[in-house]
Symmetry: C2
Subunit: 291 residues, 2 copies
């Protein structure tokens, strides 16, 4: 999807939050913010928002000399999610529809996004998971179940750390011998890398590849050839998170998007209220219904 004008104030806020997260130096904060304003003033709005985020964070890494500034908080989010895993696995196991429950929990995990809210706390995450089943949900579980049953090669595009522990619940419901999972190729925000997929126990379940890119989404032109081959070979893509939706929503492949609509621009794009938990195919479907 294109970048909306409303994304621009948000880029400025994100750049400042990220700069403060990464550095204590006001001079660094100011330089990052000025640089981002220059970029944004010239940016091609046909590009998707994650492309701008990539540039913001590349600038931050260059100015601070820190290659993975979110590493510490990522480890904390992974540990938090892993502590919750046992309870959540039991919740899925005893659910009337384990796939539906796993989808709901995986979408709930999408709250762990420091791009949307740089001040997110562990309490916020716990509350989000506890409230999962009370959140508005719009999705087609039966159609997703059919798509999974028919698919021969499934690629699951993972999103953020912590969140990927919840995604493991979903992967456990898939036919494991037909699944490959994918993470980002290089550090960007709190997006998951190969090490995080190991920590979450996903590498023990299915092959995990990285996409070679540091866009917080899936910009195919920025991804490695190996990843693109896997993407092209798949007959079903399950894409987690807002960033993957922003970068792939116009792609003609058979993609199912599972995410929480976390901002008014995305919510407006899909025609649903902010906060809605969404499970929908990329190709507009009249079958979307509230459950």
């Amino acid at each position: 999807m294109r970048t909306a004008l409303d994304c621009i104030p948000c880029f400025a806020r994100q750049a400042l939050e990220a700069a403060r997260f990464v550095s204590d130096e006001p001079a660094v904060h100011e330089r990052v913010l000025r640089d981002v304003m220059h970029r944004v003033a010239e940016m091609d709005l046909r590009k998707s928002p994650p492309v701008v985020a990539k540039h913001i964070h590349a600038e931050l890494r260059e100015l601070t000399g820190v290659a993975d500034p979110y590493r510490e908080i990522k480890d904390r989010f992974n540990r938090l999610a892993l502590r919750m895993l046992g309870d959540l696995e039991r919740q899925v196991a005893k659910a009337e529809d384990p796939l539906a429950m796993a989808v709901r929990l995986a979408i709930a995990g999408n709250v762990i996004d420091l791009g949307v809210d740089g001040t997110l706390s562990e309490d916020d995450i716990r509350r989000a998971i506890d409230n999962t089943l009370h959140e508005p949900f719009v999705g087609e579980i039966e159609a997703l179940r059919d798509a999974i049953a028919r698919a021969e090669r499934i690629v699951v595009l993972l999103d953020n750390v912590g969140e990927i522990v919840f995604d493991r619940l979903l992967i456990e419901q898939l036919p494991l011998d037909r699944v490959t999972a994918a993470v980002r190729g290089r550090p960007i925000l709190n997006d998951a890398l190969l090490a995080d997929a190991e920590t979450a126990g996903i590498t023990g379940l299915v092959p995990v590849i990285d996409n070679g890119s540091d866009v917080p989404g899936t910009l195919l032109s920025d991804c490695s050839d190996a990843f693109r081959q896997a993407f092209d070979d798949a007959d079903l893509i399950i894409a987690k998170g807002q960033g993957n939706f922003e970068t792939l929503s116009d792609h003609p492949a058979n993609i199912w998007f599972l995410f929480k609509a976390k901002c008014p621009v995305i919510a407006g794009h899909v025609g649903l209220p902010v906060g809605t938990h969404i499970c929908r195919p990329g190709i507009p479907s009249d079958a979307l219904r509230r459950t």
Copy 2:
């Protein structure tokens, strides 16, 4: 006061809100936003936020060819406030301390600020006035009363339309023969002009001058010689609104600021929570107390 880095995302939001308020053309919205981003990327942060607002709105007027794009809503806000005036005058008259009540109501009127919230509705304004006495208030009414009693030449710097009807309640409590009121010199946002002071009935009470400037505050270097003379000759300035505080907070004159702290930057600057109604002298005073 200086512009904070946190003001920068807010400038982007304000520019977009203002562009949408003034024009239905997405191309105009985009051009204004890009232009503002360029300016902001280069801006001297030692300047105060209203100086940026001046440039945003000059650009808007140029692009749209509309000299006073807020004229219609300004008239609506004035009419709304005038309909409330009779009740409010009675409220002041029967108050135990009419000056204190007039100060509270004048500060409550400061909610009418389209720079802070471009989507402000008439209901929002009514609610704000109704809740005035329940809002946190930090001020030195006795010290202000003394300053008024001692002053020989008082200049009241008015702020926004609608709000100036509430300011009239305050002016009515002052020694009218020693008071001059001042408005902005040219259209900017919903700031009050001479015509608004007439509509609010202030020109019938005291001399009203304009400051010759279109900064939504009081940037003395941008004001007319006549206004600066009146400012210099005054021994007490009563400055309404956040914009006047932002532009004059460092000035050594005997200035009393009456405003609502409407954003985290201002609130942080004065060390009080967002939403506090403030009545304080410009020179830091240990006598500030909660009432």
